[in-house]
C-alpha cells in the first residue's frame, strides 16, 4: 500500500508539473527563440550570394583601395568579435567581413556538404565579389581557425595574395593543431569549466538537422573559454551572433579522418607575413609560434602583450596590435 501511494503521488506530482510547464511553452527548434535569424531567414541582414550559398557579409572603406579580408575563427564562430578591424577602413583599406558558410548569420548547410576545399572556394569567391579591378591588392587577416584557412588559401593560390596577418593559428598541419588543442582545451576533470561544458548534455539534445538547438548548445559550450580555468587568457567574454555547431563538427571530423597539411606549397609565397601571438595564452607561447610560422619563407613574429588568444577583440590587445598591423600593411600596400 505504501509503495502504491508513493508511486501514485509521484505520478500526480509529475503530471501537475508537466501541465504547468506546458502553459506558454516554447519550442527550442523555433527560429529566433535561442539563436538569431540567418541571412536566409532575415532579408534585412547584409549578405552576398557566392559559390552556391548566401553569406552574411559587410565591407567598409573605399571600394577601390586594397582589400583586407578578415577571416574569423572556430570553425563556426562569426566576425562579430573581430569588428575592431573596421579601424583599418579609416586608414584607407577596404575591410571585408564575412561569416563563413554555416557560421554566424550565414546560411546553414547539411553536415555532409562541408569540406575544407569548399571553405577555400568560398574565400576565393568573397575576394572576387569585392574586387573592383584585377590589380587590386588583397590582404588576409585571419584569426585562429581563420588564420589556418588563410594559410590554406595561400598554399593553394600563392599568387593571389599580397600579404597576410595570421593571429594564433592552431597549426598548419594536423599534428600542430592537435598539439595546440591538447593544451588549449586541457581542463581538469574536476574543473568548473569542464563541468560547464559537459553537464549540459542532459538538458539539451538535438538531431543533426535541428540546427537551432545544436547551435545554441554549441554557443553555451564555447563560452567555457571565458572561465578562469581557461588557458587562453582572454580579458573577458567575446561577443558573438551564432556558433555554427554543424560546420564545426563537420570540419573537425574531416580533419580527424583525413588530416591536413596546408604547408605543401607555402615556399612559393615569398611575401613577408605578420605572425601574431599573445602574451597571456599559456597554451600557445613563443615556441609554438616559431614552429607554426616556420612554414613561411619570410616571417615577422609579433607578440601582443597584455592580451590572450582573442587579442584583436579587447582594448589592451587591440591597442598593442593595431599600430604593428597597420605598419605591416602599409609597407606592402
Amino acid at each position: 500500500m505504501k509503495a502504491k501511494m508513493f508511486f501514485m503521488g509521484l505520478l500526480l506530482a509529475l503530471g501537475c508539473w508537466v501541465s504547468s510547464c506546458q502553459k506558454g511553452e516554447l519550442d527550442a527548434s523555433q527560429t529566433g527563440n535561442l539563436v538569431p535569424l540567418t541571412v536566409g531567414q532575415d532579408p534585412s541582414l547584409p549578405s552576398i550570394s557566392v559559390n552556391g550559398t548566401q553569406l552574411h557579409a559587410e565591407a567598409f572603406g573605399p571600394a577601390d583601395s586594397a582589400l583586407l579580408v578578415v577571416i574569423h575563427g572556430g570553425p563556426g564562430s562569426d566576425y562579430r568579435y573581430l569588428l575592431n578591424c573596421k579601424e583599418f577602413a579609416d586608414e584607407g583599406y577596404r575591410v571585408v567581413f564575412y561569416d563563413q558558410r554555416g557560421s554566424g548569420l550565414s546560411k546553414r548547410h547539411s553536415k555532409d556538404s562541408y569540406s575544407i576545399e569548399l571553405m577555400i572556394d568560398d574565400l576565393g569567391a568573397v575576394i572576387e565579389h569585392y574586387k573592383t579591378r584585377p590589380d587590386q591588392k588583397v590582404f588576409l587577416l585571419g584569426h585562429s581557425w581563420g588564420a589556418m584557412l588563410a594559410t590554406d588559401y595561400i598554399n593553394v593560390h600563392p599568387a593571389h595574395i599580397n600579404g597576410a596577418i595570421l593571429c594564433e593559428p592552431g597549426g598548419f598541419t594536423f599534428a600542430q593543431m592537435k598539439d595546440y588543442l591538447s593544451r588549449s582545451q586541457n581542463y581538469g576533470v574536476f574543473s568548473e569549466a569542464l563541468n560547464d561544458a559537459v553537464y549540459l548534455d542532459q538538458f539539451l539534445t538535438g538531431k543533426e538537422d535541428q540546427h537551432e538547438i545544436l547551435d545554441y548548445k554549441f554557443g553555451l559550450w564555447a563560452s567555457v573559454e571565458e572561465g578562469e580555468d581557461s588557458p587562453v587568457g582572454n580579458e573577458g567574454p567575446l561577443p558573438f551572433w551564432r556558433s555554427g555547431a554543424i560546420v564545426n563538427k563537420a570540419l573537425f571530423e574531416i580533419a580527424d579522418e583525413q588530416g591536413f597539411d596546408f604547408t605543401t606549397n607555402l615556399q612559393q609565397f615569398d611575401t613577408k607575413i605578420l605572425f601574431v601571438y599573445s602574451e597571456n595564452n599559456s597554451a600557445y607561447g613563443e615556441q609554438h609560434a616559431i614552429n607554426v610560422s616556420s612554414a613561411y619563407h619570410d616571417v615577422q613574429l609579433f607578440r601582443v602583450d597584455d592580451a590572450g588568444h582573442d587579442m584583436l577583440s579587447f582594448p589592451r590587445g587591440w591597442q598593442n596590435f593595431f599600430p604593428v598591423g597597420l605598419s605591416y600593411l602599409n609597407d606592402l600596400k
Binding site: 508513493f6 511553452e25 563541468n195 542532459q202 563560452s223
Partner: protein, 221 residues
C-alpha cells in the same frame, strides 16, 4: 490490482538514469528494508551523490523506492545538481536470472555565465542479469528524457542576442544509455560498478563525452 498499478506506472512512467541506484535483489535479507548509498563516477560529468532507498515487499514483486542527490565537480559546487525520485521493480525472477524495471524522475539544474537551466525529466530503463547472493552481472538499457526545461538567460547572453526567449521549453531532447553492471556483496554491504555508453535520442549525435561510469557503496539495514 495493486501490483498491476505499480508495474503500469513503472512501465508507462517517465522513467531511470544511467547512474541511479544499482541493486542486487538477492542480497537483500527479509529484514533489510532500507539502504543508504554513496556513489561517484561520470554521469555527463564527474559527479558525487548520495541516496536513500526503501524496500517494499508486495505480493508479486519487490519494489525499491529511492531519492538521491548528486552534484558535479567544479569550483561552484551548488550551481548544478540533480535530484532523482523514483524506484525500481523486480518484475521477473527465474532462478538466478532477474529483470528489473526502473523509473525515476530527475530534477536538475545547470548554470553558467549565459544561462540557468532547470529541468524536469523522466528516465526509464530495464536491467537484465544473473544474480547470486554475493555477486551479480547485468546489462541495462534505458532512456533519459528532458521533458521540460526552464531557460533563464543572463544579461550577458541578452547583450549578445536580445531576442533570446526565456521560459519553459518542452521538450528539450533526451539520451539513450546502455551498459553493463556488476557488484559484490558482503554482510550488509554492496560495492557496485557500472559503465556504458550514452547517445542522443535520434542516434545521430552524442554527448561531449558519451560514456558513463559509476562506483557505488551501499549499506543495507
Amino acid at each position: 490490482m495493486k501490483n498491476t498499478i505499480i508495474i503500469a506506472i513503472a512501465l508507462l512512467g517517465v522513467a531511470t538514469s544511467a547512474c541511479a541506484q544499482t541493486i542486487n535483489w538477492q542480497a537483500f535479507k527479509p529484514e533489510q528494508k532500507n539502504s543508504l548509498y554513496l556513489q561517484t563516477g561520470w554521469d555527463y560529468s564527474m559527479n558525487f551523490g548520495a541516496g536513500y532507498g526503501r524496500k517494499f515487499d508486495t505480493k508479486l514483486f519487490p519494489v525499491m523506492a529511492n531519492i538521491e542527490y548528486s552534484f558535479p565537480a567544479g569550483e561552484r559546487l551548488f550551481d548544478d545538481f540533480k535530484v532523482r525520485i523514483g524506484g525500481q521493480v523486480e518484475v521477473v525472477r527465474l532462478g538466478g536470472f532477474s529483470a528489473t524495471a526502473k523509473v525515476y524522475s530527475p530534477i536538475r539544474r545547470y548554470e553558467n555565465n549565459l544561462v540557468t537551466l532547470f529541468n524536469f525529466g523522466g528516465e526509464f530503463s530495464g536491467v537484465l542479469g544473473f544474480y547470486k547472493q554475493k555477486w551479480f552481472v547485468a546489462g541495462e538499457f534505458g532512456f533519459d528524457k528532458a521533458i521540460a526545461t526552464h531557460v533563464k538567460h543572463s544579461e550577458r547572453a541578452l547583450d549578445n542576442y536580445d531576442g533570446l526567449q526565456s521560459g519553459w521549453y518542452v521538450p528539450t531532447g533526451g539520451n539513450w544509455f546502455y551498459g553493463l553492471q556488476t557488484g559484490f556483496s558482503f554482510g550488509g554491504n554492496d560495492l557496485t560498478l557500472k559503465a556504458g555508453k550514452v547517445t542522443s535520442q535520434g542516434w545521430e549525435t552524442s554527448p561531449f563525452i558519451p560514456y558513463f561510469a559509476q562506483l557505488a557503496y551501499q549499506r543495507r539495514f
